[in-house]
Symmetry: C2
Subunit: 282 residues, 2 copies
């Protein structure tokens, strides 16, 4: 049977059939241009579920007007091959008009959570993310849905939305997958030229330095920790630090002293390439 479908009605029909056979449905929403991070989500879903659905949709409503929606990397044939090798059961690749038909008007927002960190630099981004994720969850109606910790604020906001709106799904967070040198896998890494690729590592280095200070040097003053992290990034040169913050995992609120379950989040810009990363301190 053809793995890839383009229409919502086809997805519903396939899922109805799988559900009727008692299968547990796992869902991995993606924007495509799949990398090792996506594959780890899919493998986790394959382990825990009987029927795994992957969607590929570069969601226009989560990009700002000056952002990289048009140049976001796409290669559906390559992605399809990867998903066939992973034995994914269903691939949903909708057209934009299938998801946002003319006259579309409904948006979901997790207030406060969406306005800080990434939200400050990408206004409207999480409103777009929440809306597409809610739509896809309503279309697929999975038992479990998988997201990477790489986009930590996104994962925390989606968990909050699911809890607040009583959506009957379990959200599973999966560890960030990194290149050998530590750079977090991202579809946007393809934008980096060789020199930028080397500079890009400074964000991870700053996060690791902060982790080391907390765990080995027992520093718990966040101001001091952040200052040290910023130093690591400044030393690199040619890198714009957009934010570097230590917040609680539960509600994304900043802390002054290290406490249980915090996360260090950062975003940098190298030329016009924007990269994010984070480390949880649990």
């Amino acid at each position: 049977m053809e793995m890839m479908v383009r229409r919502i009605e086809e997805v519903r029909e396939r899922i109805r059939y799988a559900r009727k056979k008692g299968k547990v449905i796992g869902f991995v929403p993606t924007m495509g241009y799949l990398h090792k991070g996506h594959i780890s989500l899919i493998r986790r879903a394959k382990e825990e579920c009987d029927f795994v659905v992957v969607s590929i949709f570069v969601n226009p409503t989560q990009f700002g007007p000056s952002e990289d929606y048009n140049r976001y990397p796409r290669d559906i044939e390559r992605d399809k091959k990867i998903l066939q090798d992973e034995k994914v059961d269903l691939l949903f690749v909708p057209e934009v008009s299938e998801i946002y038909p003319e006259g579309y008007k409904t948006f979901v927002n997790v207030e406060k959570y969406s306005e800080i960190l990434e939200g400050k630099f990408r206004p409207g981004h999480f409103r777009g993310v929440c809306t597409i994720v809610l739509k896809l969850l309503n279309i697929v109606q999975p038992d479990k849905s998988y997201f990477g910790w790489k986009d930590a604020q996104q994962l925390i906001i989606i968990k909050k939305m699911v809890e607040d709106l009583n959506i009957p799904v379990e959200i599973v967070g999966c560890e960030t997958i990194r290149e050998d040198d530590g750079l977090a896998c991202s579809s946007r890494n393809v934008y980096l030229n060789r020199e930028q690729r080397e500079k890009a590592l400074c964000l991870y280095k700053a996060l690791k330095r902060i982790e080391e200070m907390i765990k080995k040097e027992n520093v718990n003053d966040c101001e001091k920790l952040i200052a040290e992290g910023e130093k690591v990034i400044k030393k690199e040169g040619g890198v714009e630090l957009q934010y570097l913050e230590i917040v609680r995992i539960s509600d994304l609120l900043p802390v002054e002293k290290i406490e249980k379950d915090v996360i260090v989040l950062g975003a940098i810009k190298i030329g016009d390439v924007r990269l994010i990363d984070n480390l949880r301190i649990e």
Copy 2:
């Protein structure tokens, strides 16, 4: 078995059991203080479904700060008796803290549709309505959910939300139920004293006059129709007309000339009692 439950988990458990037995689930969300209008929704649900769930929840997020949330009429014992007589299968009466626990942050909005007509006089109202309806639909997961045409803008917005967000439910609109003299049934009618109760009818009279002009006198100029409707209300005296508009049913946009499928909507205030009504011209 006890018909009334207060916790989300209890609802889910009961519904899971009914669903397992292959029952079609019907859902009627209400704010309680049930009248003939609610009963007509419940009877329609009983006709079309095997397991009928009613919720009673005076939803704080759909009331403005100066509105009647606190004095909104409540009589759960009377309501419960009515629902027992109607042989409703499950009654969900959550506490506010069960629906909006501390730190609640997620809201749904149907843009444009929510800003006009009622939305102009009740900013944030439909954001609250959409949010509670989406939550209840996620909790109950009904096959069909029933709403009255009495709250026409609400019905149109909920249909739009369900369509936009791909929510797997059928929204059924049921005809407005009226008192013998034509006044639309509303829980808020209890606020009216005898003199106000008589004045209240002028809105329905204005709507009927407009309908008569369209159907019998072939008037199709909306400005003229509205002017005539306003005259009916002004003649009454002591009634504040908040709006009287003719819009398309499909998208609530105003029309200049009568076309297929329009609706005449109005809101009046008598003392501090606010009443709405409408007539579809199909």
